[in-house]
Amino acid sequence: MTYSQNKKLKQEGADSNNSASEVSTQISTKLQALYKSVEDQTIPDRFLDLLEQLDAAESNHTKGGHK
């Protein structure tokens, strides 16, 4: 590779660093937005019900232990 070719490649590499980091930023932004779109959803009732049931079973168990 000649010096000038090499220099040109380095130049292109430096230019594309910008667009590479732009892509990288876009990826981060989209990943976070996607994740957040799920996080922001209301917690489905099934989980609240489940925790209630587990809690109830727990206190029944504890009471039962004192019999």
Binding site: S37, V38, D40, T62
Partner: protein, 188 residues
Amino acid sequence: MSTAEKELAPGFKKELLGSLPSLRAFAYSLTGAADKADDLVQDTVLKAWAKNESFQMGTNMKAWLFTILRNEFYSQMRKKGREVQDTEGTFTDSLAVHPGQDSALDMQDFKKALDQLPEDQREAIVLIGASGFSYEEAAEICDCAVGTIKSRVSRARLRLAEILDVKGASDYVMDANAASIGSRAYSR
């Protein structure tokens, strides 16, 4: 019979509840499908509740729950085989509920690209890039070295850039030449 050790630490349920949104989001990224994600979260809640004694209040419950969820996911995968992974479709429904996004279509493309990643890379980039864990925490959750997480994250980013660049040249204004040089520069 000692009932004391059976008792739930105060705050356990509350903290568990507080971690549910991020647990669900992590489960989506692993399973790629809304219904399967919530089944996985349900199994995780049951597991976590059953072994609540092994959790030290005051330590990182989110990381503890993520570890349980991840182990559960892989053990179910091993049992059921690859059919657990169903990337097509269902996620779109849940996205439609959020028209506030700049473009839901754009997001679907991204989701598809994410689903194409190998599991180890996908979980690494999600844990670091979205769940907000440190490299050390992610390494603990995935039971691997910190360096392994780092290299998985950068391979994931590289792969996503490639997929998205191929898919939507207009969104990612880089010509093929710049893209390949850029990738090399980025992979360092």
